[in-house]
């Protein structure tokens, strides 16, 4: 949980996640989207993976990254705890 929240704290990592909505990509293609060194992107990918927000699969010399449901579920579940609090008050009279 801690590591998942940490992972989404960084703007570059959030951009990577949004980028991956478009579909799985290898590390090099992901790095191309950013004006940042490949080792930096590699590090960000590692943190996203630790937070279970992405999944890595080796394919030959490439590593393909894709969104991982479980990290998102974790955060989503946490937010659900607040949903009840913010529920609109029910009208006293049925409309």
């Amino acid at each position: 949980m801690e590591i998942t929240f940490k992972a989404i704290n960084d703007p570059t990592r959030r951009e990577i996640l949004v980028y991956l909505i478009g579909g799985a990509q290898n590390a090099g293609e992901i790095a191309k989207q950013f004006s940042m060194s490949k080792p930096s992107i590699s590090h960000h990918l590692d943190l996203l993976k630790q937070g279970n927000l992405i999944h890595a699969e080796k394919k030959g010399q490439y590593i393909i990254y894709s969104l991982n449901r479980s990290g998102f579920e974790l955060v989503h579940a946490w937010f659900q705890g607040f949903a009840q609090y913010f529920e609109f008050p029910k009208p006293k009279i049925r409309l």
Copy 2:
């Protein structure tokens, strides 16, 4: 947006938010829940306020803190972009 994600990154701040589900409280009462100095809690409250996750209202010598819908809406909206990708079940209660 940046500041809101930053605000929920810290575990103490997330605990404060969860604590406030139980209802609005003044700074001293909030601080009592944690084994941490009051200035530290005050700083955390400030960051949560900056992220629009809580609202502060002065009441005499006390300051009453309560959950603020707008910060939660912001993060929720961001996650909705992924909800479609993962086809999360729709929440029963609107956030």
